[in-house]
């Protein structure tokens, strides 16, 4: 007998038995034993191996058939379990979703900036929002009756108490209580008596960095800022410095970065210049050191600050600052 004939015969048996199995007349185990068992039909054929003319060929065919049969019988077993014990679900229905919350975009941006600075070895410092003239202005080299104060429209409480106009007051508190080296970032809310519109708010958040030590130079300010903006806006981002004036730093510079929207090609956001202004910076003015009792011959330092709202608006394409405080759930959920 040729092996192929025997295989065909078994096939016929199997097809007949499948029908019986589907009707429930044969159990799965019996089916398996009948064909694949130690004394099953297939074993019989294997036993006849020595009688075949081409043994190698016969072995190959038989093994293939055995695999085929095993696979079929196993798949029957799985189907039968489904058929017997489970209810078929409509899997296209939605899942039972728990509520998903969200974090406020401004806080997240602040956190992200903090993380960058922490990785560069800075510490977070906090300070009061209600402040005295001394910490907000005088110690920062804003002389009394000086037009520089006009740069800050200030909310006054009474006497010399006011709402801080920047987070630079924290510099003074920290330096009064700590000897150099000082390496801090100071985030927080600030207040200016500005009429609210799409890009101005009387309450806004700022983050400022201060680094004071024995050999801190402007080149290091440039290097640090460059590393920071690359971390925040991407590796391709470049910086450029323009001379400016802040009473508490000298020399001072405004810092532009490559436009985050058009990557420097020129667009509406950057007024086609390819650059956007986001930071103020400079070397700590010796008068500031004097006011906290640091020796300005020995120590130098740099400081810089940026507005958290502005950075967030640029990064996420938010057109109006007022969206941040409106807290529309449809806005909140996007981030």
């Amino acid at each position: 007998m040729e092996v192929s004939l025997l295989i065909n015969e078994i096939k016929k048996h199997f097809e007949a038995d499948i029908l019986l199995f589907a009707e429930g007349k044969i159990k799965h185990d019996d089916l398996k034993n009948k064909f694949l068992g130690r004394k099953g039909l297939l074993a019989d054929v294997f036993a006849k191996m020595p009688t075949f003319t081409n043994k190698a060929e016969a072995g190959k065919l038989l093994n293939l058939f055995k695999n085929e049969l095993t696979e079929k019988i196993d798949s029957l077993s799985q189907n039968s379990v489904v058929a017997k014990n489970t209810k078929k679900l409509d899997l296209t229905l939605q899942g039972r979703k728990p509520n998903l919350g969200s974090l406020h975009l401004l806080n997240e941006t602040q956190r992200e900036i903090e993380e960058i600075f922490i990785s560069m070895g800075f510490e977070i410092a906090n300070g009061p929002q209600v402040e005295t003239d001394f910490y907000n202005f005088e110690a920062l080299n804003f002389p009394d009756d000086h037009p520089a104060r006009e740069m800050h429209d200030t909310f006054f409480v009474e006497g010399d108490v006011l709402l801080r106009t920047h987070t630079s007051n924290i510099q003074i508190h920290v330096m009064q209580n700590q000897k150099p080296p000082v390496r801090i970032i100071a985030p927080g809310k600030c207040y200016r008596n500005d009429t609210p519109d799409a890009t101005h708010s009387p309450v806004f958040a700022q983050i400022e960095a201060l680094y004071v030590d024995e050999n801190v130079t402007f080149t290091e300010l440039k290097g640090t800022l460059d590393a920071f903006v690359k971390a925040l806006f991407g590796k391709e981002t470049k910086t450029r410095f323009r001379p400016s004036f802040f009473p508490f730093t000298e020399p001072s510079a405004e810092v532009d970065v490559t436009c985050v929207v058009c990557k420097g090609k020129g667009c509406r956001v950057c007024k086609n210049s390819g650059w956007i202004e986001i930071l103020g910076s400079g070397m700590v003015d010796p008068n500031v050191f004097k006011s906290v009792g640091y020796n300005s011959e020995k120590y130098t330092g740099f400081a810089f600050g940026l507005g958290i709202e502005r950075v967030t608006m640029l990064r996420y394409g938010i057109p109006d600052l007022r969206l941040f405080l409106e807290n529309d759930v449809r806005f909140l959920k996007q981030f």
Binding site: E150, P181, N193, K222, T224, F245, R330
Partner: protein, 794 residues
């Protein structure tokens, strides 16, 4: 400040285009904010034509038939303007030209006559709103050239932002000096040629300064023969370019000199000065004076007064008086050019709320040593354009001359601040270009027109402005010492992420509010109220996060943004504290708010509304997350909650409140939602608690035993009190109690309820026996019966 490009070009060579100039100024610290060219944008097919012939149109009595030479040909053009005449030079729009209003010129026939273009009026060219007839050009216009060439002398306005430290840049000459220095050149002031008459200024006026600390220098000069008239076109145009309106030739000259040299000038009508005398004095409180804007002003005791022998005639450095202003019939004037101490001017202008171009300059600091130069410049211009006869000499009272400052600049200091060393010759040249001269080794003289230069660091800044920040390399922070970086306090960040994970949306509310809300929601201390509020909404600092949340809820309900509101915030609240330096206590609070549906309705959850127990449950989970070992609740009260309010006690102290917001408050805030639940807490206590590191409690290897009881209780019995009582009774091996069912209704009577409790027992020493547990359960039953009238349900 607005600059005229042509004016700058009069003063300094500018061998590059506007764009380069803008770049150079911006990168030296005079940021250019805008550039506005007066050169209009005209199609090159609008050309200058010459009217060779003009005849009446054969079929019309108001049209003319003109032959117009446009350079390479002569065109026939029909013109409707009555002022067209032979021999005029006119703008011609050729066929194909596009006018500023978008109209394209086509060949047409008008009443049978061909017209090959149009002779334009000013309004057709967009140069005026309306115009009467065609625009007749000046004689020297070149036939055939583009019309645009008529504008080659048009000016450009460059607006720069001048920061408070640079008063020298508040005049064109100062900016010209900067432009010159940026080309590595030093600029000199132009020489003034002045012809004076024989009469001497000093013979007709005496100046006394009685207030020298406020007015260190007062210079004056007399000019007679003046004819007050409109200014010549060039002057009107210059002033227009920088945004000033022309008044008359005398006032315009004083303004011109101020905007050229930065020195404010004032012209008095000499006939109004009584007693040939000027006295610079100090005001007395309550004195009144009418300034030339017609406003009467009440003065304090530190205003600088310019008086004659009898009366006040000006507020020094701020504004002149109505009584001595130059009028149309004025013929003789006294020109004032003075130096006032900045802080006095600033005080006066702030107190009076009176700002002028003069006060703006004086309060930033003018050059005390340029008053005479400015006088001469003004006199020269008045002689030129107002027929002025200039008296010889000046009156100049300057008792204590202000000298240039000597400043040391050490090369090693430059390197210490900037991080690079700069060759000495380069340093000296850069500074010299700005007028800062070297007088000895490392010693430089800062000119008096730069009052901002006082210290070594100021010179370093000048230097870096001149070499440019681009010349400095980037240096990576090399000295980072991570050991000094604090252990990161991540609690706030973790806490916020935890709440977001529980399905809450973080919001950020305004820390400023109205006075009423700040006061209504304050706790024990007074609210912080501003002396100069922006408006009602920005008038005080918040005393609670709660009202801001209701506002956010109101907006979201109004906008129908969702039906399920789950908000949280950690933010600062403020109140007065007289015991600290800033009279303020600032503390961080947290708040969770739930309103509307637990979820937006879907297949699995339909309109399940938030209730009190959601807020309480969150309070329990949030406190546990924050590391509180022991939490208790007791009945609490808050003015804005209903009686369903609990005080939360964590580790023995009050840490917050859970409550249901009262209907009245919801109505006050216009919140159209009934179930609003809140958990508010003192975040700072949470922060401190979290940092306590807890140790592992061992896990029990012996099995636990659970037993249940169902009690019938009076409805008034508080289940929590029953649970607490059992807990407090220290039943042996009892580790937890869980309420798992509550039932009211039949077969119970109307004032009964049934409560099912599950008790878990375990021992760390052995497996508990049945008897032990039964004995404990007996004790529990007894406590419940005796204290709460509980009956065991069978």
């Amino acid at each position: 400040m607005k600059l005229s490009l042509n004016w700058l070009k009069d003063l300094v060579k500018i061998p590059f285009d506007v764009e380069t100039l803008v770049q150079k100024l911006t990168f030296s610290g005079l940021e250019v904010e805008s550039v506005t060219s007066q050169i209009p944008n005209f199609d090159k097919n609008i050309v200058i034509g010459f009217v060779k012939e003009s005849a009446n149109h054969p079929d019309s009595d108001h049209l003319s038939l003109c032959q117009v030479d446009v350079g390479n040909e002569v065109l026939q053009i029909v013109c409707g303007a009555s002022n067209v005449k032979k021999g005029q030079k006119v703008p011609v729009a050729l066929i194909g030209a596009e006018l500023p209003n978008g109209i394209k010129m086509k060949k047409t026939k008008i009443r049978g006559q061909e017209s090959n273009g149009m002779i334009c009026s000013k309004s057709e060219l967009g140069l005026a709103e309306t115009s009467d007839g065609i625009f007749v050009l000046e004689e020297h216009a070149e036939i055939g050239k583009p019309f645009l060439s008529c504008f080659k002398d048009s000016d450009t306005t460059i607006e720069i932002s001048v920061l408070p430290n640079r008063p020298d840049a508040l005049g064109h000459f100062g900016v010209a000096r900067e432009i010159s220095a940026l080309q590595n050149q030093k600029i000199e002031k132009p020489k003034i040629e002045l012809s004076e008459i024989e009469k001497q200024t000093k013979d007709e006026i005496v100046v006394e300064i009685d207030f020298p600390e406020a007015c260190p220098r007062y210079s004056a000069k007399i000019i007679e023969g003046i004819k007050v008239a409109p200014s010549p076109a060039w002057l009107v145009k210059r002033l227009e370019t920088i945004g000033l309106r022309s008044i008359n030739n005398v006032v315009d000259v004083t303004n011109y000199v101020m905007f050229e040299l930065g020195q404010p000038m004032h012209a008095f009508d000499f006939s109004e000065i009584k007693g040939n005398k000027i006295v610079v004095g100090k005001s007395q409180k309550g004195q009144k004076f009418t300034t030339l804007d017609g406003n009467q002003r009440e003065l304090d005791e530190s205003t600088i007064l310019i008086c004659d022998a009898e009366k006040i005639i000006a507020l020094g450095g701020v504004m002149g008086g109505l009584n001595s202003e130059v009028k149309d019939e004025t013929t003789k004037i006294l020109l004032e050019s003075a130096y006032f101490t900045p802080s006095f001017i600033r005080k006066t202008s702030t107190k009076l709320g009176l700002k002028s171009d003069a006060s703006h300059r004086f309060e930033r600091g003018t050059d005390p040593n340029s008053t005479l130069y400015a006088l001469e410049r003004a006199a020269q211009l008045l002689a030129e354009i107002a027929n002025g006869k200039v008296y010889a000499g000046n009156v100049d009272v300057y008792p204590k001359p202000i000298l240039p400052k000597e400043i040391e600049l050490r090369p090693e200091r430059i390197e210490k601040v900037l991080g690079i060393s700069i060759p000495q010759e380069k340093v000296e040249k850069a500074l010299a270009n700005l007028g800062i001269s070297k007088v000895a080794e490392n010693i430089f003289l800062a000119p008096t027109f730069r009052p901002d230069l006082e210290r070594e660091i100021d010179l370093i800044e000048e230097l870096v402005r001149m070499i440019g920040y681009d010349a400095l390399p980037l240096k990576k922070t090399s000295q980072v010492d991570f050991s000094s970086a604090s252990v990161r306090n991540n609690f706030k960040s973790d806490f916020r992420k935890f709440l977001a994970g529980l399905g809450l949306n973080e919001i950020l509310t305004n820390s400023m509010t109205t006075v009423e809300i700040a006061q209504k929601f304050k706790e024990n201390n007074e609210a912080i109220i501003l002396a100069n509020p922006l408006n009602r909404e920005f008038a005080a600092l918040r005393t609670s996060l709660f009202p801001g949340f209701l506002e956010v809820l109101r907006i979201n309900l109004f906008k129908k943004s969702t039906t399920s509101f789950r908000f949280f915030e950690v933010g600062t609240v403020f109140w007065r504290d007289e015991n600290v330096y800033n009279k303020a206590k600032e503390t961080q609070r947290g708040i969770l708010l739930f309103a509307g549906n637990r979820k937006n309705p879907d297949l699995f959850c339909q309109n399940e509304e938030f209730d009190f127990y959601d807020a309480k449950g969150f309070a329990e989970v949030v406190t546990e997350f924050s590391g509180f070992k022991q939490i208790r609740f007791k009945t609490g009260t808050r003015p804005y909650f209903t009686e369903n309010c609990l005080e939360v006690i964590g580790n023995g102290r009050t840490i917050g409140f859970v409550g249901e917001v009262s209907e009245k408050v919801l109505k006050d805030f216009d919140v159209s939602c009934k179930n609003v639940l809140v958990f508010e807490f003192d975040f700072e206590i949470f922060e401190k608690t979290y940092s306590v590191v807890s140790k592992l409690s061992p896990l029990n290897k012996f099995p636990f035993v659970e037993r249940d009881f169902a009690f019938t209780l009076e409805k008034s019995v508080q289940v929590g009190e029953l649970v607490q009582k059992i807990e407090a009774s220290k039943v042996k091996n009892l580790v937890s109690i869980n309420v798992f069912d509550l039932y009211e209704g039949k077969p119970l009577t109307e004032n009964q309820k049934s409560v099912a409790l599950n008790f878990r027992f375990e021992s760390f020493e052995r497996t508990l026996t049945d008897e032990e547990v039964s004995e404990a359960m007996g004790k529990i039953l007894k406590i419940s019966e005796e204290n709460f009238g509980a009956e065991l349900r069978k």
